[in-house]
Symmetry: D2
Subunit: 292 residues, 4 copies
């Protein structure tokens, strides 16, 4: 397929490589030039402008947040002049932006698919992402070969632009909740003389296997939150997306409310450059446990 790909961050780069490897033609655009050169070395073509990327049949975008999507893609002139007939937005954006984007695309006769992913950079590199997809069924079917090139499984979640987005937001909320629970449990047991490393080993080797508890458990055990794979303010952003979506749909979310305050506390104490696993330190600090 002829694909325009916009946004070559840590995730976008390996996704492009996998698309090329699967035989697709990919023209790439990125704000900064280095990732473009790398993608070209992988077999992609450089698009001279965003508009040129939209000459392809399908556009995939993998940008950071609402603001980037709005700045780069929600542009009447761009959409009016596009050849592409479907846009697959793989960023984690707000429900409101997903809906606004779908409407704007529809007004220009362009199909819109929401498709955020679960998986970090190494998972993207291995082509093993879980792809959360929602949008019109015919469009999902059409872009499935692209999903197949990037992921191990596509999860169809509904026919609107919001279902995939809210599911990604919910998944991130659950990760944040797992971190916070680990932090509170760890502070509690440490206050009674249990070594955090033992607690984490026990949990991850019994009732809580899997990447989330082992990744963040190791951070809590070692009290090491650098280098940051996912910084605290990004985590807070996603918790806030959940709170806002819950607000709009009248869904109380008391755990999300607690998370918000714990993240704010962490950031107010100077931890904004740490991985969001560092929210576990808030429980230690509030309990007056030694800082080291």
């Amino acid at each position: 397929m002829d694909v325009g790909f916009i946004g070559l961050g840590g995730m976008g780069r390996p996704m492009v490589a996998n698309l090329v490897r699967a035989g697709h033609t990919v023209r790439v655009w990125n704000r900064s030039p280095e990732p473009v050169r790398a993608a070209v070395a992988d077999g992609a073509t450089e698009a001279g402008s965003v508009a040129e990327a939209w000459r392809a049949d399908v556009v995939i975008s993998m940008l950071a947040d609402d603001a980037s999507v709005r700045a780069v893609l929600l542009d009447e002139a761009l959409l009016a002049g596009a050849d592409a007939t479907v846009h697959v937005n793989m960023a984690t954006v707000s429900v409101a932006l997903a809906r606004e984007a779908a409407d704007l695309h529809a007004a220009h006769g362009i199909g819109y698919v929401s498709a955020p992913v679960l998986g970090r950079i190494e998972v993207a590199t291995a082509g093993k992402l879980n792809i959360l997809a929602s949008g019109p069924a015919a469009l999902l079917e059409r872009v499935e070969p692209l999903f197949a090139a990037m992921g191990q499984r596509t999860w169809p979640l509904g026919d609107g632009p919001e279902q995939a987005v809210i599911t990604k937001i919910a998944a991130n909320f659950m990760i944040a909740s797992a971190i916070e629970a680990t932090g509170e449990a760890s502070a509690l047991t440490e206050a009674y003389g249990v070594d955090s490393g033992t607690l984490i080993d026990l949990l991850t080797n019994s009732i809580f296997p899997g990447v989330v508890y082992s990744t963040y458990g190791a951070m809590v055990r070692d009290r090491r939150y650098e280098p940051a794979n996912f910084r605290l303010p990004l985590g807070l952003k996603d918790v806030t997306l959940g709170l806002t979506a819950g607000f709009d749909a009248r869904v109380p979310m008391p755990f999300a409310g607690v998370l918000r305050d714990q993240f704010l506390d962490a950031i107010a104490h100077g931890d904004a450059d740490l991985d969001w696993g560092a929210v576990a330190e808030v429980s230690r600090r509030r309990a007056g446990l030694p800082r080291d």
Copy 2:
């Protein structure tokens, strides 16, 4: 080894069977007679009284809660007349009771080991429990053959009576937190048209593998919380053990505070006989989602 075993509930029975199978002599006592007959059929001997069970070298008890332990075991006359030199308490009790029990045993020259377990009835039957143990190192070493007969791994957590207990309380708090997070996430996504079954399949097949999310995820997906393996009021009891221990050690636990209110809400709405997974229904109800 010559073992007295007190408390033949759903967990105690298979634990006795595994002790017998490993070659230990086990005299059992239980308040009601039927489980005793079953244990005798498995090769155990009946103790005519609690005191008779204390004629063994080691006493293991597996009772329901603080009140049962206090009623059956914290008895000056019983301890004064005991032959046993070590008592392994495998119940989930409060930190305060564990400390009080250890002191009382010490006053009568009896060693005290805390050893609650992770694992449900089928895990106990398979002899695959994770055993959380704390107490004097020499005692832990001495009873390790008994642990080996009942569990797949013993986790030594410290030399006091409290470390094993607080770790079990922390683990149950983390399970409750996982249920609550699933409930909030499920209410949120359902409000935006995502089927809960799909959400659960997605999560348990990607970032949240393991018995906790699959067990409670299935309950939330099917909205079926009967038969109850672990009833709501027991879950609330364990959350409260965590809050009380946090209180005594000055550890704020905002997630535990939320859990307390959600459990109370569930019980106030008539769900006391359901499995504690039913706490997820509170999020649905508060959001005004359809009850059926």
Copy 3:
């Protein structure tokens, strides 16, 4: 002084009447015509358009929320063509909007004063409002005669557009907290057989005198939340303004997080048209107390 007044809701009308009574010339504009006729009967002049209101020396606006302020007043052409040299915005708006508005006015050489008020319609009618004011000191001094006509006291809170706004948001947060505390206390005591009316009488006649506890206490006592003086969704809006401002300044606000969920619960249960005092019913409902 020559004053343009925009927004003749329940509060704006008596404020205009008091300005006229104090000898000021007031030209009024309102989206719907009836309040304009009433104001003219009180001695004001009708402005044919918003722009005409801006022919005055000073413009006062009293609109509902951010959206109305943005729609009616944040208009480049309007500000470019204005004769007025100062705008006093008396609405409860977000900190972000206050700052944006101040910048936009400055770009057109117009001074900007934030001046939300404490007091309901009857207080406005009596000219007894407490006026929370912030902005450049010279401007505050200049418009003080107008404040003196509408209020019993002006509280200068700082020289930026945000201080008066955040203080009003904080005051409303404190009112909401008082309602919630009353609701929880009332549910607790009723569960033990204490009549809510007696509780309220006791509190308001002893440690909690004043308009807040007596107004909302009476609602809780009588379980009557209509007619609504301040509807639940407006209350939730103000709580959310506090949460957002707290977010931006990294101030955890756990009470505000609880309030958010309680308001959402109330609205999800169909109480959106009731006074925000009805948030007290959430505590009753969660406790399973009889609905009638």
Copy 4:
């Protein structure tokens, strides 16, 4: 009336003085001797033992908490040998203890009245306490002359031992909530450049008059929490009495849950000897506001 009075703390002393002044005969007992000497100087008689105080017709006790009441008064031998036919317990105790005490008194044919008070030492001195009373109506009537000597008003709250106690617990919960709301509001406004003193002046001179907001507002304004009239751990004790009573009656209390964590945070940070108003500092600290 012939009164035995047990417990001459800061509150008990002026209460005895007012009883004597009203013409009652009062024999006093206290653990430490100095307050007894002072009371004798005021016209009371010294009781050589607790039992001697129980020779009076009516016994009033004003002890610190459950533990003191249990240690001094819940004594089978004492009650069996008592001449007094009614005991008025004016301490703030738990609902559970009030019920247990009433049952124990009934078993010895002694009437039991719960009568905690609202008001601090200076209010007790002025004889202006608000007395919250519950118990059998005939007993309340009988001891009303004693209440009249100590208070400005008696609030009859029910015929059981629990209603007066739960109402006092609820009132203290509401005070704690007012402090916490003030703390959060103050941190929020200070983060935007509003002086806390101005905020407090504004609130206490407008919508929040009365002793609670002015007393604790002044502490927050001056950031001075010594000398402590009511220490943080006592405040936490009362919040916990509310949580426990809510637990038993299945009443979720999210504000009380937040308060619990804020008090624990304060105590964990070394503020246990400060007045409970110091819980407001937790909001400042969590927001990273300057400590001085």
